[in-house]
């Protein structure tokens, strides 16, 4: 693990609910998250596990009918539970920034990309117009766009998918944020381009010395990128561990299932053997009752799984929400 620095974000019991016509939906349910400067934390889960909502909640971007509560929520010395929206606005883009999944829709189609990068500095009054433009072009070069001077004058539709994601990375990084939240930034890209974008992202994160929260469902990326991993299931953290611990000794049956479902290209191919998959789907969040949310799909489910499972610390920094480890 890289040297872990100061805690930049610390959230305890983060709950995000949405009021829907059929009831209150708890998209994120009691999430604890601590991020240190310089570390890469991967938030892993399948569709509907609450990954993206977590990212938006941390950014303070949940609008009604959504609602976020948190017992404790510190970011960069600010208490976000009491911080007024106008102050939060000043942090966004300057201290905390987000990279979205689909760069084409995240960019304003009718404005030049150079202006969109420069505008972060303009919003916060951090530079004059000329200075902002100069720094935007410079950063565009640093994120690996050739002919940055010329490309800055392009519109998003004139760039390739990879170039567009480089632009959104530049937009996220120009304010030198302490925390970058990346929500599946490579999912919409070709595999070859994916690797380049991941390299760029870690390079920018390292040079800024910031924390990176990487939201993904791709365990291949996790192995490559993460210092620590947080596994999310149906809005709850089911396991949290350093990346080595998670791959070597996964605790939660869900994590075990996830890791087993990654195809192993090195293993000898056996005819007729299907890829391992976890049966079933994530439960409807409106219908979860008490007890372990994974028990319907779990091959090690037991009677006591009907009661809320405790969060158990297996070793330093390795926590699991499962009855299997209770009373050991």
């Amino acid at each position: 693990m890289r040297n872990a620095g100061d805690v930049v974000l610390s959230a305890r019991r983060l709950v995000t609910t949405f009021d829907t016509p059929s009831g209150r939906l708890r998209a994120v349910d009691g999430l604890d998250l601590h991020l240190r400067l310089g570390e890469v934390v991967c938030l892993v889960g399948e569709s509907g596990s609450g990954k993206s909502v977590t990212g938006l909640s941390l950014m303070g971007l949940i609008d009604p009918p959504g609602h976020v509560t948190c017992d404790e929520f510190w970011f960069d010395g600010h208490d976000l539970t009491t911080l007024p929206e106008s102050e939060m606005e000043r942090l966004r883009g300057r201290r905390i920034a987000m990279i979205f999944q689909e760069p084409l829709s995240a960019l304003n189609p009718s404005r030049r990309v150079g202006d969109q990068i420069a505008e972060v500095l303009r919003i916060h009054g951090l530079a004059s117009r000329a200075e902002a433009t100069r720094r935007a072009v410079e950063l565009l070069g640093r994120v690996g766009i050739d002919d940055a001077q010329l490309r800055a004058r392009s519109y998003p539709h004139q760039l390739s998918g990879g170039q567009r994601q480089r632009v959104t990375i530049a937009i996220a990084c120009i304010g030198s944020p302490r925390l970058i939240i990346a929500d599946e930034p490579t999912t919409a890209l070709d595999v070859t381009v994916q690797t380049q974008i991941l390299d760029l992202l870690t390079e920018m994160q390292t040079s800024l010395g910031s924390a990176l929260l990487f939201i993904t469902h791709d365990l291949g990326i996790v192995a490559e990128l993460a210092d620590r991993v947080v596994v999310l299931y149906a809005g709850q953290v089911v396991e949290e561990a350093a990346v080595e611990d998670l791959y070597r000794t996964p605790g939660h049956p869900y994590t075990v299932g996830l890791l087993a479902s990654v195809p192993d290209v090195d293993a000898p191919r056996k005819r007729g053997v299907a890829l391992a998959a976890i049966p079933g789907t994530v439960p409807n969040l409106l219908e979860v009752g008490t007890g372990c949310r994974f028990r319907e799909r779990c091959d090690r489910a037991h009677d006591r799984c009907g009661a809320e499972p405790p969060m158990i610390t297996l070793s330093e920094g390795h926590r699991v929400r499962c009855w299997l480890y209770a009373g050991r």
Binding site: R92, A97, E119, G175
Partner: protein, 269 residues
């Protein structure tokens, strides 16, 4: 881009009309107000290329000067309508849900008012004249701009690039200026072009009824209104301004359609 003959013809015709209107003082062959009692309701001749009206005034000169009034009123009214309607629509889209519902119902009421009737009432009380005419037509058409701006602002606001801008610390004013407005301009342009033809017709209709620009200043609608009384003496004079107006409105519509297809292909019916 392939442009068919229709839009070309429309563009050429409107360009000619606009140039004649703007430079009417130079390009008009005669004084549009000069009366000639010995040559009334004449058909075209070498002297009067498009004939003369009931007071012997040259029709070509009056068409050229009348175009100036017609265009001036229509364009100014559209500018006024969008200057009121666009900020209002965006403002409503960014207000709370209650304000939103209430304001849009009020706008609906405005849209459902019978336009010509309201115009007659306003102009009847305020009297005709260039400014009142522009003001009246502008007020009649601003709700349409408010509606379009409201709808566009709401849909653009839900797009991810707006969320992205918010995630960078942009406030509401910034979002409106940099994210919402630039992305709605193409739809607004199409709306403006269609409303322009309605405004031209409205001006013509009101002038026809004698509620527009007071004589002797010519406008197309007013000429039609005056000349229609002599249709059985000589049908020619009333046909001239009618055809000119018809072609102008048609041209604006054809260009509006073309603009629609070009700027907003996804809205093509």
């Amino acid at each position: 881009m392939h442009v068919t003959a229709g839009p070309w013809a429309a563009a050429v015709y409107l360009t000619v009309v606009v140039i004649l209107a703007v430079f009417a003082d130079i390009l008009s062959p005669r004084d549009p107000l000069a009366i000639d009692p010995n040559n009334i309701l004449a058909s075209p001749s070498a002297e009067n290329l498009l004939g003369t009206d009931e007071l012997g005034r040259d029709l070509l000169a009056r068409i050229i000067h009348g175009g100036r009034v017609s265009l001036e009123v229509a364009v100014s009214a559209i500018v006024l309508a969008s200057a009121i309607g666009i900020p209002l629509g965006i403002g409503i889209a960014f207000s709370g849900r209650r304000v939103e519902t209430f304001a849009m119902r009020v706008i609906d009421v405005f849209v459902s008012l019978p336009e010509i009737f309201v115009a007659i009432v306003i102009l009847g009380f305020a009297g005709g004249g260039l400014t009142t005419l522009i003001g009246t037509i502008g007020i009649l058409f601003f709700p349409q701009f408010a509606r379009v701006a409201y709808g566009m602002a709401r849909s653009i606001r839900a797009r991810e690039h707006v969320l992205c801008a918010v995630s960078l610390g942009a406030g509401t004013a910034w979002i409106i200026r940099k994210e919402i407005l630039p992305n709605m301009m193409s739809v607004i342009a199409v709306q403006a072009s269609f409303t322009l033809s309605f405004a031209m017709l409205m001006e013509a209709g009101l002038s026809f009824l004698g509620l527009g620009v007071p004589p002797p200043t010519p406008s197309w609608g007013q000429m039609i209104g005056g000349l229609k009384n002599y249709i059985f003496i000589n049908a020619w004079p009333v046909v001239v301004p009618s055809v000119v107006l018809f072609a102008a409105v048609l041209s604006v519509n054809v260009l509006g359609d073309w603009l629609q297809d070009r700027l907003n292909p996804e809205l093509r019916r």
